[in-house]
């Protein structure tokens, strides 16, 4: 057993700097001679942009330059690209209208950037922007998902009839129709999966810098994937060769998806730094984040589940309208399609599934992946239907699931919606969760709560997700315009310390610790001798970044591959030094040993010899000990689990108190249980937040974002939730990656929303309530209890 290796609750290497105020987030950086940029953003949801008069702004104190969309167009700056091509039912490609860095001719949502003012300080840039005179001609707007494709809705883009970006479908419609025809029971549901704002606590920031001597650009940006930004911005927007462009993502204060995408501000500061001959810095205010960070979810769905008389699922039919906002964000098109429809089998053996997705443009901030990305939406549809079906058919909520779970013995299991689950033991985690939640005592708690004027509700949800999108060739065939592998470089230094370069990026996920544990386990190097480097395109060979819970299953697998190469080379060196056959050399716990003898050399000695190759097989082995590997996954990984939630609803006010939350997850093998539990806790609260308090609301008439600050957008706070009980089941590891890991970053968010709403609906069953859209606010609940329809918001 290696100290601090796989399975150890190692305290984090990154914590000292964060706890002492020595982290380096983008806004903490200041470059010599830097100027500041302020972006003037559209106050209108939809308007013709007629004229920008910058004369007064240019004369304002400290203002250096004003840049407009026309300037960028004239300079050949391209639009921001979409990274995934979707095809319509009829085989034609989706409509992909240009997304200019700064608006040209039209603004399409509140916050659409219109002009950039560069000045000596941030305050002077803002003051200067006050002096810009912009002539808008306001147009009618459409923001609501269900309204966008209706006849007469204002057109967001010319050339996209009825605001439809694509009309896509997946699955076997005929098989589904046949199954419905012979169903004993059909459960239907109409639901709105509400729009959310990611709200990483660090607002986005970017600094552009240009070095004329080397003709090189550097972009510092709060991003989850600097290499992808370099690729997209270099190739499509600024047309800069990658060798002339460095992108650095230093410490990043949370992402949750919202920092995956290539944003206008990144291209703007990079371009402007050369233009004005000084570094240019931009930092968002929180109000600006609300109208410029890609938002999440926003699905309107009608779904139907066909069952036989015993409660066995026969078929599932889903029709969703997905709101993509005013422009296509980087991965926006993949989320409501391949990351949604493919997950609709859930944990169940449903033999036939069909899903249609109509994606629409609206005058709202673009929508893209937010923690879970498509999978929480799928889980919500499936688990609400299952719960409703159980209620309608008089089946116990656990019984209906047991009856329909894919059994462990059926693995690998081919679903009717393309995915092949490699592993999973669903009954085991559900039983464990029921035990941990003292499910048997729920009825007694319900009776006790009733005496206190509280209605207790128990909600169960099970989920499965697909992490580490892969393999690249399959993703490519489905429309991905990128590969989805990961790189790792393990560099031994002469005195035996190691630098690990990973293409994954940590913005809270603890890579510096967890990945060092992999090196400690695999190479026997003490964890304090391992340095993990991420987030710099000049230092790391390549990388696809961190999202979709991919860092460990994909990035970790690349590390294992690189370590394998280190060991293979080390064996050759050891064989020479120990005067033994290579085949006789074993490597264990950091020592190369001649099998069956006490002759051995530590990996540190081998590393030293590789850099001081005096006694070295130079004829057959190169000096140095530094290996790079790229890993392209063979399949997705499929984390899965059970969440159980208990709520108490106040009979008088409709207020909900979460009294119990249990999660038992199968993430495969666990590297650092402390880190995994932390990821689950955080994920759960994002799911609970959506279910109970978070809601991104646009005014349907003006198109204004009503919830544009923390005054109006309700963030989950510490008193919204209780302490959690979480556990993992390691009994069904991933079968196709070398660590057996599945990923844990999004699970909490995927499972929690449905569990909470199922609990709220259970609490209200005495009032004939069968569904409640998120967030389940006291007002909605009170109205439901009093038989008054909720105010028509959507």
């Amino acid at each position: 057993m290696v100290e601090n290796g796989i399975g150890a609750r190692v305290r984090r290497k990154e914590d000292f700097r964060f706890l002492t105020g020595q982290g380096t987030y983008t806004d903490d950086m200041n470059r010599p001679g830097q100027a500041h940029v302020f972006l003037l953003r559209s106050p209108h949801a939809h308007a013709r942009l007629k004229k920008i008069d910058a004369r007064q702004a240019l004369a304002a104190p400290g203002v250096i330059a004003v840049i407009t969309g026309a300037d960028l167009e004239a300079a050949g700056v391209g639009p921001l690209p979409c990274g995934w091509q979707i095809f319509n039912k009829d085989g034609t490609p989706a409509h992909e209208p240009p997304h200019p860095v700064l608006a040209v001719g039209r603004v399409r949502h509140v916050g659409d950037p219109v002009a950039a003012v560069i000045a000596e300080t941030r305050a002077l840039a803002r003051d200067g922007a006050e002096k810009l005179v912009v002539d808008y001609d306001p147009l009618p707007s459409v923001t609501a998902t269900a309204q966008a494709a209706k006849a007469g809705a204002p057109a967001v883009h010319d050339g996209a009839p009825n605001n439809v970006c694509f009309d896509w479908h997946f699955g076997d419609a005929a098989a589904v129709d046949q199954a419905f025809a012979k169903a004993a029971h059909v459960t239907t549901i109409d639901l709105y999966n509400n729009r959310l704002v990611a709200n990483a606590i660090e607002p986005r920031a970017a600094i552009g810098e240009y070095d004329p001597a080397a003709d090189r650009h550097t972009l510092y940006t709060a991003s989850q994937n600097p290499h992808v930004i370099r690729l997209l911005m270099g190739a499509y927007v600024l047309k800069l060769p990658e060798a002339k462009l460095r992108v650095v993502s230093p410490d990043v204060g949370g992402g949750f998806g919202s920092k995956i995408y290539h944003y206008a501000e990144e291209a703007l500061v990079t371009w402007a730094a050369k233009k004005v001959g000084r570094p240019v810095k931009w930092t968002a205010d929180r109000s600006e984040s609300f109208i410029s960070d890609a938002q999440g979810r926003d699905h309107v769905t009608h779904a139907e589940l066909a069952l036989d008389k015993s409660g066995k699922f026969l078929a599932l039919r889903v029709q969703t309208t997905a709101n993509l906002g005013g422009y296509l964000s980087t991965f926006s098109t993949a989320i409501p399609t391949y990351l949604y429809a493919t997950l609709l089998a859930g944990l169940y053996t449903t033999p036939a599934i069909y899903c249609g997705v109509k994606a629409v443009f609206t005058n709202t901030v673009p929508v893209d992946a937010y923690r879970g990305a498509g999978r929480p939406e799928a889980c919500f549809v499936v688990e609400r239907l299952v719960e409703k079906a159980a209620q309608e058919m008089g089946l116990d909520k656990t019984e209906i699931r047991r009856k329909n779970f894919v059994p462990k013995s059926a693995m690998p299991y081919q679903t009717p919606v393309a995915l092949q689950y490699d592993s999973g033991d669903f009954i085991t985690h559900m039983e464990a969760a029921l035990k941990l939640a003292d499910h048997g005592g729920a009825e007694k708690r319900r009776a006790d709560a009733k005496k206190r004027g509280k209605l207790l509700g128990v909600g169960l949800s099970t989920y499965i997700e697909a992490c580490g999108i892969a393999p690249s060739n399959v993703a490519g065939a489905l429309g991905a315009r990128a590969g989805l592998y990961e790189s790792a470089e393990v560099r031994f230094h002469p005195t035996g310390t190691v630098t690990l370069f990973t293409g994954s990026h940590s913005h809270g996920q603890s890579h510096e610790t967890t990945f060092a544990q992999l090196i400690a386990e695999g190479l026997g190097v003490p964890i304090e001798n391992v340095e993990v480097v991420h987030g710099d395109t000049d230092r790391i060979a390549f990388g696809m970044g961190t999202y979709g819970s991919r860092s460990l299953p994909v990035g970790g697998s690349a590390i294992v591959k690189a370590m394998d190469k280190i060991v293979a080379k080390g064996k050759k060196i050891a064989a020479h030094m120990l005067e033994a056959a290579e085949a006789d050399i074993e490597f264990k716990n950091g020592t190369f040993r001649v099998a069956g003898t006490d002759k051995g050399l530590s990996i540190g000695q081998i590393a030293f010899s590789a850099y001081v190759p005096h006694n070295f097989p130079l004829e057959t082995v190169e000096p140095g000990l530094d290996e790079t590997a790229f890993y392209d996954p063979k399949n997705f990984t499929f984390p899965n689990g059970t969440h159980i939630c208990e709520v108490e609803v106040d009979e008088d006010t409709g207020a909900v108190q979460l009294t119990r939350f249990v999660a038992v997850d199968d993430f495969g093998r666990i590297i650092n249980p402390m880190v995994v539990e932390g990821q689950v806790h955080g994920g759960i609260v994002q799911g609970v937040g959506q279910a109970l308090v978070e809601d991104c609301i646009y005014d349907p008439t003006s198109g204004q974002l009503v919830t544009g600050s923390y005054m109006d957008y309700c963030m989950p706070k510490a008193d919204l939730v209780p302490s959690f009980q979480v556990a993992t089941n390691e009994g069904a590891p991933c079968t196709h990656n070398p660590l057996g890991v599945k990923g844990c970053g999004e699970a909490g968010t995927i499972g929690a929303g449905a569990a909470v709403i199922n609990a709220v609906v259970d609490a209200l069953k005495g009032f004939g309530v069968t569904h409640m859209d998120m967030p389940a606010t006291p007002e909605k609940i009170w109205r439901a209890m009093h038989g008054k329809a909720a105010k028509a918001a959507e």
Binding site: I201, S709, A718
Partner: protein, 156 residues
Amino acid sequence: MTIAVAMKVNGKAVSGQVEARTLLVQFLRENLRLTGTHVGCDTSQCGACVVHINGKAVKSCTTLAAQADGTEVTTIEGLARDGKLHPMQEAFREHHALQCGFCTPGMVMSAIDMLRRIPRPDEATIRHELEGNICRCTGYHNIVKAIQAAAKVMGG
């Protein structure tokens, strides 16, 4: 128009000429380059900017630098002594009460002030007292644990 401000920050006398509208957090971050104090919102809700003025927790994004003139300010950089973490910092590390680290300085400063006022808070009190600090990563679970543990060590 600029004004002169002078205060003690983390035990050191500092002074500067600032625009009258300069916020304390700007003075700390931009003039003094003490970038451990963060700005996460513009409506005084997230608490990433919490520092102590004369020992009390204050949101430095909603305080003018001029208001701190003549006071003693402590920031996250001023807590650890000779490389040894403050018990609250140590408890956060031990209990994994931070992930991305961005809200952490404000959380730690608020938590220290909380224990000054309420030496042995129960879980419900801790959760209520954290009303002015938002964390998007941890789900608060481990922050609550850390504060409970720190309360024991700090001898409340």
